[in-house]
């Protein structure tokens, strides 16, 4: 299977980002120029305004708006920070440089803009996301990276100095870090017909060693626990642009379940953003029923686990039969199992027996 997308996907997107940042700047400038205190309206991110949209299959923000007005003594400082963050993002994007959240916090001081702490600067960045409806990776602000990808996918860099260079993602056995450069790459071609996302580094390495990418024609993605936004967006692109179905393997406990769910349906924290979810992705295990069926070595669920299960049971994202069945089973058996538990049947059992069965069962 070979596929070549239009090269303009990434470039076009950057142009849009720059345009919307400039639009925000111009709006503020015009208000000042006409002798008004500048103000901006954006959707409220308070919990009451976050609701689940079954159509979009993710959390979205409701109709409630908040207005931030520089006339208000409590608003003027965050408003100034917002304008500064927009300017800083504009510089990053137009110069095709990237920055981390931590970096933004320190860069502000060069402009005599002081953030009280990292949390304050993070909040302002989220505000800018909400105002523009874009995620921070779009304007080149990235969190610290920890997730990776491995498989037969050739990408073409768009970052300065690497434009036009291509890379096959099997070229490094540890996988390639899903960082700013990879995130902004175009997909060139692939022979894979599926994506397998894995929660833990140990299993990811095992899969690479056991040639899972070849045996199963898969692109392997390591989420390292809860998948970062860039990784979620990357999985979505693989799913949308290359039309690869995605399967997610996590630990068999409520937390693992939720890692899969956030990749599928997103989080409440990102309700102001789109294009981070992969609604058609599948959670392939480890299920509670797998624990029973494969007689896996287990640990008892502790109090926090059980409390979490009851929360998930009421969560609208978990209303489907599969999820409800698994939650009930967890609550019944009161046990949990890690992915590594399959090792009791030998190192390759998980690849030789479990994985094919589950891919079969969930596709």
């Amino acid at each position: 299977m070979e596929r070549r997308k239009q090269k303009s996907v990434i470039i076009e997107r950057k142009k849009e980002v720059l345009a919307s940042l400039e639009k925000f700047g111009l709006k503020t400038y015009d208000q000042l120029d006409r002798g008004y205190f500048p103000s901006i309206e954006m959707p409220s991110r308070s919990t009451e305004n976050i609701c689940y949209d079954p159509q979009a299959r993710q959390y979205i923000l409701g109709d409630r708006k908040v207005r931030r007005n520089a006339r208000n003594i409590r608003h003027i400082r965050p408003f100034t920070q917002l304008v500064w963050t927009a300017l800083f993002s504009h510089e990053l994007t137009s110069q095709r440089k990237t920055s981390t959240l931590r970096d933004v916090y320190y860069s502000a001081q060069a402009y005599e803009m002081k953030f009280k702490d990292q949390q304050e600067s993070n909040n302002i960045i989220t505000d800018l996301e909400t105002v523009l409806g874009l995620s921070r990776e779009d304007f080149n602000i990235f969190p610290e990276e920890r997730s990776a990808v491995f498989g037969d996918l050739t990408i073409e860099y768009t970052v300065p100095g690497y434009e036009g260079k291509t890379l096959n993602l099997t070229s490094h056995p540890d996988g390639v870090m899903i960082g700013p450069a990879l995130t902004s790459s175009e997909f060139v071609k692939t022979t894979a017909d599926k994506v397998i996302a894995i929660e833990k580094g140990g299993l990811f390495t095992r899969f690479v060693e056991e040639n899972v990418h070849k045996k199963f024609n898969a692109v392997l993605v390591l989420t390292s626990g809860q998948a970062p936004r860039a990784t979620r967006h990357f999985i979505r692109r693989l799913n949308r642009e290359l039309e690869l179905p995605a399967y997610i393997f996590t630990d068999g406990d409520p937390w693992g379940m939720h890692i899969a769910m956030v990749i599928i349906s997103g989080s409440a924290n990102a309700a102001h953003l789109r294009e981070l979810t992969t609604p058609d992705a599948k959670w392939s295990g480890v299920w509670a029923t797998d624990i029973v069926d494969y007689k896996l070595p287990t640990d008892p669920l502790d109090e926090v686990d059980i409390k979490r299960l009851y929360e998930l049971q009421r969560d609208p994202r978990y209303k489907d039969a599969l999820w409800q069945r698994e939650i009930k089973t967890f609550l019944k058996i009161r046990r949990k199992a890690e992915q590594e538990a399959f090792s009791r049947y030998g190192l390759t059992y998980i690849v030789d027996e479990y994985l094919p069965a589950k891919l079969e069962g969930t596709s």
């Binding site: 940042l21 400039e22 925000f24 700047g25 111009l26 503020t28 400038y29 000042l32 120029d33 002798g35 008004y36 205190f37 500048p38 520089a70 006339r71 003594i73 003027i76 400082r77 408003f79 100034t80 304008v83 500064w84 927009a86 300017l87 504009h90 402009y111 005599e112 803009m113």
Partner: protein, 505 residues
């Protein structure tokens, strides 16, 4: 079997044996008391004529005495009324002789202080005292005298009459005493400072034994009207006073006796009272039996319709002068002063003046400083027992947004024909309900004004902070949005900045 012998002692002898009751308890207190008594006499002497006082005090070291004590020579000069030559020996050489035994507001109450100081000097150094005085007429009289303690009589050792070419008026007292200036120094300096505070019309100069000069300069020539003598109020009299009045009265009827010897008793009140107490208005007071006099005293206290004492005989400092005095000595940022309306306790009129000073050169100490004054003299000892301290400590200052860590000085001045001192040492005032109420109300009034000041100050502060925020951030918004929009010229934000200013700032 031992025989008990009885002997009579003179007043001077009595005070010689009991000098601590007048404040001469130890060498440090003694030197403080001596300075204080003479200054107060001098202030009174000047104020009687409503002359702004000029007082010069010099304390010089004469000789070693004990381990920590020394012999000092104290010299006090004033520009007061002066003393007629025939009164000089007794005024300074006879205990319990003087001009202060009438119901009138005055600094000293016993007419004892100056003489006690001289007496104390004489018994510790055996030196005579020198008195020089003139009433401003053609002669100056200079005396050298000693007190004959057993007979309570002045012993004149020398007397000179000088020609007063320059018409000098005033009194100079000089004598030696043993004392401990090292210990007394802080109190003496504090005494000068506080005296200057409640006598802002006085010039006080003090040269201490080390030759250091302390000068407290007047800020005004305004002086309060001097206190006037008044008749005793019927509530305050006792049998002894009644007996004396009966002895001296020229009046032959009880009606006239009541009308002429008592404060605020006129024809109507006198008649009402005599009817109430069943005494014939025409009865001759001299014919009252001993029992009738006792009954008269009881009835005076029982009769509830006497008018309260009139305070016009009192001489409070006044709000203006108290403010001037506090401003001059403490240099605060804010002063509130309140003179209460006259009130009375046990037939004695009194007026309370309260003040609170905040900030400026007043240091933060973690608690308020209180200055107590009675008849325009500072009270420096036994602060904790004083009614003003009690009232201050019991007040809920938090209600007035005032906390102990603020730089605050409280001043309370009480003037009365009879200050309700708790002890003979005249250092603290008793907790009389009437006095306590007036002090409390006075302090509440000044506290309210301090609160208003603090609130206004805080408002101005928050308003400034608010403006600062706009001036800090608005230009940045303008700059950043200009760059972001790709414009060349920053928008004009002067008008916006002007618009955030509220009136009055």
């Amino acid at each position: 079997m031992a025989r008990t012998t009885f002997e009579e002692i003179s007043a001077a002898d009595f005070f010689y044996r009991n000098r601590e009751i007048a404040g001469f308890t130890n060498p440090s207190r003694a030197i403080f008391a001596a300075v204080r008594e003479l200054i107060e006499n001098s202030l009174d002497a000047a104020e009687t004529l409503k002359i702004p006082p000029d007082i010069y005090v010099r304390l010089s070291f004469a000789d070693e005495a004990g381990l920590e004590t020394g012999v000092y020579t104290l010299r006090v000069e004033d520009n007061g009324i002066g003393i007629l030559p025939r009164h000089i020996p007794s005024a300074f050489g006879q205990v319990l002789y003087g001009s202060k035994y009438k119901p009138k507001q005055q600094r000293g109450t016993f007419g004892l202080g100056g003489k006690m100081a001289i007496l104390y000097g004489q018994i510790t150094t055996h030196q005579p005292a020198r008195i020089i005085s003139s009433t401003g007429m053609s002669k100056i009289y200079a005396y050298k005298l000693r007190i004959d303690i057993q007979r309570n009589r002045p012993l004149i050792l020398d007397r000179k009459v000088l020609i007063n070419k320059e018409r000098w008026r005033g009194t100079i007292v000089q004598f030696s005493l043993e004392g401990d200036y090292g210990r007394a120094m802080p109190k003496i300096l504090e005494y000068f400072k506080q005296t200057a505070m409640v006598n802002p019309y006085a010039n006080l100069t003090f040269v201490d034994p080390k030759g250091r000069l302390y000068k407290f300069t007047r800020v005004t020539e305004e002086m309060p009207d001097p206190p006037r003598e008044t008749l005793p109020h019927p509530y305050g009299v006792d049998v002894e006073l009644l007996q004396r009045l009966i002895q001296v009265t020229p009046f032959r009827s009880m009606l006239e006796f009541m009308k002429n010897h008592f404060h605020r008793v006129g024809e109507i009140t006198a008649n009402k009272f005599l009817k109430f107490s069943n005494i014939s208005p025409s009865k001759n007071p001299k014919k009252l039996s001993h029992g009738e006099v006792v009954r008269l005293m009881r009835m005076l206290k029982k009769f509830g319709e006497f008018l309260p004492p009139d305070a016009s005989c009192l001489s409070p400092l006044g709000e203006e002068l108290l403010r001037a005095g506090i401003s001059k000595e403490l240099k605060p940022e804010f002063v509130a002063v309140r003179q209460r309306r006259p009130s009375a306790y046990a037939g004695h009129p009194f007026i309370v003046e309260a003040a609170v000073a905040y900030g400026g050169e007043i240091p933060r100490r973690g608690s308020f400083l209180i200055h107590r004054f009675a008849n325009r003299i500072p009270l420096l000892y036994d602060e904790a027992s004083d009614v003003s301290t009690i009232v201050m400590n019991n007040m809920n200052w938090r209600r007035y947004k005032v906390t102990p860590d603020m730089p605050i000085v409280i001043a309370v001045h009480i003037c009365s024909t009879k200050i309700p001192y708790k002890t003979v040492g005249k250092e603290f005032i008793a907790d009389r309900p009437e006095v306590r109420r007036e002090i409390a109300n006075g302090l509440r009034e000044v506290a309210r004004r301090l609160q208003r000041f603090l609130t206004r100050k805080e408002h101005a502060h928050t308003e400034q902070k608010r403006l600062d925020i706009f001036t800090r951030y608005l230009p940045k918004i303008a700059k950043f949005s200009t760059q972001l929009a790709g414009k060349d010229k920053s928008p004009d934000i002067k008008r916006l900045l002007r618009s955030v200013k509220r009136f009055g700032t």
